[in-house]
């Protein structure tokens, strides 16, 4: 799997353990904390 960037902390993520869908796109996270932070306010991290 290609490496994705966690939009919250900027780390490279190589697995799909923590993901969220927003605006038709899947975002990958390094941990539950980053996913929760993203889910609270996705717009902050997607523009």
């Amino acid at each position: 799997m290609a490496k994705n960037i966690d939009p919250v902390c900027g780390m490279k993520v190589s697995d799909a353990s923590f993901t969220s869908n927003y605006g038709g796109k899947t975002y990958y996270f390094c941990c539950e904390h980053c996913k929760q932070t993203f889910d609270q306010n996705p717009i902050k991290y997607t523009r």
């Binding site: 306010n41 717009i43 902050k44």
Partner: protein, 694 residues
């Protein structure tokens, strides 16, 4: 994947080279990078020795190569090159090894490949002089590339050190000894490092506070400018907090220590400055992406260039085909070293955080600088942010026969047991009127409602409520209302001026508060704001921030209280007031230590300048590397002949050092220019720059 804070390289989390700072693991690509981070002085000393050796041997190498001819000359040059290649150049091999191990190229890898190619080729010619017809040795190239790049590293190191000095200056100011007060009440001098939380110390006039704590005896004026940038001394009395690094001006005070060492305000600011310099703004990702693809491209171009010259020169019958192929390979590899790209972000961030701290602004999250520079709207919490956090009594209404002072005295007797800001206002007013307070028993405080207890056998109940004009406290004695106290929050000094500056910068400004509409409207009118929200619950503050974001605004939220935490986190940039709660400070991306709202336009200017400077640096570094690769690959050969290759490898090293120095100098220039704008912000009536204009 974490990045090395020194060279910016990606490092695997499996790496055994790491250090732990405040419970956080910091990974490094090599032991030399770790040494530079943990003990920069030793690293500088080692670099100085390596540089001295490099210059001492490189100059004779150059002179012999170009001026002298004698028997065994090549062997003498080999001996002179060995210390430069393997002692001075050792630092690059360490980085190159780690680069191969983590499969992510770095500048050390390119320097190693370039210089070893020139060295091994020369060694081969030295041992087998007739193996390649007309071939020369290039010990001068390999030695000078190492020497010049090491010189560039040394200059860069010294510059970084200078930029870091303002952060270290904070810590250096802390006095080495403190006047410890023993249980017997005597005073003895002890090392500040031996002072613990709970100890009592004496701080004399003219001395600096060595730790954070609270005054329990004495009154003095304190110069807190080092933390807040505010030059006006602050009066500190019993119960007031004092901070390490601030100056005790004119009174002898005794304090109880609450924080020592790294946990003190100064210690934390120092850590934040250091961490901010290792933080990454979003714009730096351009550099990361570029570096990741750049090194494989460079090696490919170098190989293609070498093969081209080998085939072409062999085809035309030139005796220099192998030699030129090697030299073009070395030149391309050296000229493309992306060290300036690696420097572009960190050095600017370091200088930016130094400017911020000098202005009483702590940037906790470097990633927020991109968003701060794009801000279109500032949303202020009202109480504690636009206004002070402690209200003032605006009116006292008495019902029945009780006197105003008696009503205030019984209220204060109860409120002195509470930490609520309203309680503080009432007890302050009672103290101001020199009223005698009574003992109070059976106290029960209900958050959001009020407090009750028994004073002189009477059950006293104080209810805190929102009235049309602001906060009010109803006073009941044995269930009968005896009067009420009206409270209002005075506007924070400089708030109107700060909002005017933000508006002149093209930003929209809003205010929101849990207070009544009348109270919020009053404040909004005084400040010239049309957009305000009243009666807002804590959770709704974040919803309002999100609504603005959905409309396309980049939102800065400025708050101070626990109830602002969610909004601080939801906003594109959360700015917490230094006087605010610990939780608010933890949630904010930035902290305004001075509590001066004028720091907000300053922070925006600093962010804008920082991002623009990082962009300039990245553009310069990428443009430079890309533009010179064709030169190294031989584009100038038709004009100047193959002779250019006798100097190109060294010129490549020189140009590379120049590129790094330019990036560093460009970042340093930011300090002077930004400080000039910040000085203009301090002056009233000066037109602010509209964001994006420069």
């Amino acid at each position: 994947m974490p990045t090395d804070p020194v060279c910016g390289m990606y490092v695997s989390e499996d790496s055994s080279i790491f250090t732990v700072v405040d419970g956080e693991k910091i990974y490094f690509c090599s032991k030399s990078c770790m040494q530079e981070y943990t003990s920069p002085d030793e690293r500088e000393k080692s670099l100085r020795y390596r540089l001295a050796v490099a210059w001492i041997f490189s100059i004779p190498i150059l002179l012999i190569t170009y001026l002298l001819q004698f028997a065994y000359r090549d062997y003498v040059l080999l001996l002179l090159t060995l210390p430069v290649q393997f002692y001075s150049g050792y630092v690059f091999y360490q980085g190159a090894y780690m680069s191969i191990k983590s499969r992510s190229g770095n500048m050390d890898l390119l320097i190693t490949i370039g210089t070893l190619t020139a060295f091994v080729f020369s060694l081969f010619i030295t041992i087998f002089p007739r193996a390649i017809i007309s071939a020369s040795i290039y010990y001068d190239a390999s030695a000078f590339i190492i020497t010049l790049i090491l010189t560039g590293n040394y200059v860069e190191n010294s510059t970084k050190k200078r930029a870091n000095r303002s952060a270290s200056r904070l810590v250096d100011m802390i006095p080495a000894t403190s006047h410890f007060i023993t249980d017997a009440g005597t005073v003895e001098d002890r090392k500040t490092g031996e002072i613990s939380v709970g100890d009592r110390i004496l701080v004399k006039p003219g001395e600096m506070f060595p730790c954070d704590g609270k005054i329990y005896e004495g009154v003095t004026e304190v110069d807190q400018s080092v933390l807040t940038g505010e030059q006006e001394p602050v009066v500190k009395r019993v119960g007031d907090p004092v901070f390490s690094g601030t100056s005790n001006l004119n009174g002898s005070v005794r304090m109880e220590v609450s924080k020592t060492g790294r946990n003190t305000t100064v210690g934390q600011i120092y850590d934040m400055i250091r961490k901010a310099a290792t933080g990454r703004a979003k714009v730096q990702k351009i550099a990361d992406r570029f570096s990741a693809i750049f090194i494989p491209i460079v090696l490919t171009v170098a190989v293609i260039s070498a093969i081209f010259w080998l085939i072409f020169l062999s085809y035309v019958g030139s005796p220099y085909s192998v030699e030129i192929a090697v030299l073009s390979f070395v030149s391309v590899v050296v000229i493309a070293c992306p060290c300036a790209i690696g420097l572009a972000g960190p050095i600017t961030m370091l200088i930016s955080s130094s400017i911020s701290s000098e202005n009483g602004i702590v940037v906790k999250n470097a990633g927020s600088l991109d968003r701060l520079a794009k801000a279109t709207r500032v949303v202020f919490d009202k109480t504690g942010t636009l206004t002070g956090s402690v209200p003032e009594i605006s009116s006292i209404t008495v019902s029945g026969s009780i006197k105003e002072d008696d009503l205030l005295a019984i209220s204060a007797s109860l409120e002195m047991n509470s930490n609520h800001p309203v309680a503080k206002a009432i007890t302050n007013e009672a103290k101001r009127r020199h009223l005698i307070l009574h003992e109070c028993t059976g106290i029960t405080e209900t958050p959001g409602t009020g407090i009750e207890g028994v004073v002189d056998g009477n059950k006293i109940t104080l209810t805190r409520s929102m009235e049309k004009s602001g906060s009010a406290v109803g006073i009941y004695v044995n269930g009968v209302k005896m009067g009420s106290i009206g409270l209002e929050y005075p506007l924070r000094e400089g708030s109107k001026e700060a909002i005017g500056k933000l508006q002149s910068m093209g930003l929209s400004v809003s205010v929101l508060s849990g207070d009544s509409e009348a109270a919020v409207k009053d404040v909004a009118q005084i400040l010239g704001l049309n957009d305000f929200h009243s009666g807002v619950f804590p959770g709704q503050k974040a919803d309002i921030v999100k609504e603005y974001q959905q409309k396309g605004d980049y939102v800065i939220f400025v708050g101070d209280g626990i109830n602002d935490t969610v909004a601080l986190e939801s906003a594109d940039v959360g700015i917490a007031m230094g006087s605010g709660s610990d939780i608010a400070r933890d949630s904010g991306d930035l902290i305004i230590l001075s509590n001066d709202l004028n720091s907000i336009p300053k922070a925006i200017v600093i962010a804008e300048k920082t991002i623009s400077k990082i962009r300039q640096n990245i553009f310069w570094a990428i443009g430079y590397n890309s533009a010179l690769i064709p030169v190294a690959a031989g584009i100038l050969v038709p004009a100047f002949g193959l002779g250019v290759y006798s100097v190109l490898p060294m010129l490549a090293a020189l140009a590379m050092g120049f590129s790094s120095t330019t990036v560093v100098t460009n970042s340093i220039l930011m300090k002077g220019r930004t400080e000039k704008i910040l000085r203009d912000i301090r002056k009233t009536g000066v037109k602010m720059p509209v964001l994006g204009s420069t």
